[in-house]
Amino acid sequence: MNERSFYYIGIAFFGMINGIFNPLFFFVFQISVYLMAEPLFGSTAAIAYFSSLMLSTGTVILGGIPAALYERFIGAKNDSTVTSLWIWLAGTAILTLPAIGNFLAIGL
């Protein structure tokens, strides 16, 4: 497996944990009911899955902002560097901290 794949797996893992166990889940669920009830056919389960997906992807996106700024700072051309992937992983891990308590208490 490519060395970079481990970074992607780590980033996705933290994103997944934050999507499932984040304390903001119910807030996002309520907002999603308003914004997405029609496209998701009013299904509570689908809206809950969607809320979890938006939280996890939002974590990955927000965690990537410092990495992207770093890449601009060093003038990276076509691809991320190992350092920027580390920053991305660390940013995602930091954003997952509020969900770690629930994750350890409930588990997968």
Binding site: M54, G58, R72, D79, L85
Partner: protein, 102 residues
């Protein structure tokens, strides 16, 4: 609880509608991108690109370069969802929207 017409809250509904259009077009582009070449001259593909490219250029500034194009489009969808959430929260916090009014 209170109901309101579209035009009495147009300053919320119009930007929300525009963001929703771009959001779903972004999703459409991600799905269509599975079947269509990126430099295709298909008019639907070009239309999707024309609508979403301005937003993608902005989002690309804060997205790491390792992100594949299809993932960028999906990230764009999520960005736009959160922008709609932000819009909703701002209008609620300012007291312009009330529960049931939107």
């Amino acid at each position: 609880m209170q109901t309101a017409s579209f035009w009495s809250l147009w300053y919320f509904h119009v930007p929300n509608f525009i963001l929703a259009v771009v959001m779903y077009t972004m999703l459409g582009r991600a799905l269509l991108g599975l079947f269509v070449e990126h430099d295709s001259t298909n008019y639907i593909w070009r239309g999707f690109c024309a609508i979403t490219d301005p937003f993608l250029k902005v989002f690309a500034l804060v997205t790491p370069k390792a992100t594949a194009p299809v993932v960028q489009w999906l990230f764009g969808f999520v960005w736009l969802f959160w922008l709609r959430v932000l819009l909703l929260v701002v209008f609620f916090s300012l007291g312009i929207l009330r529960v049931g009014a939107a």
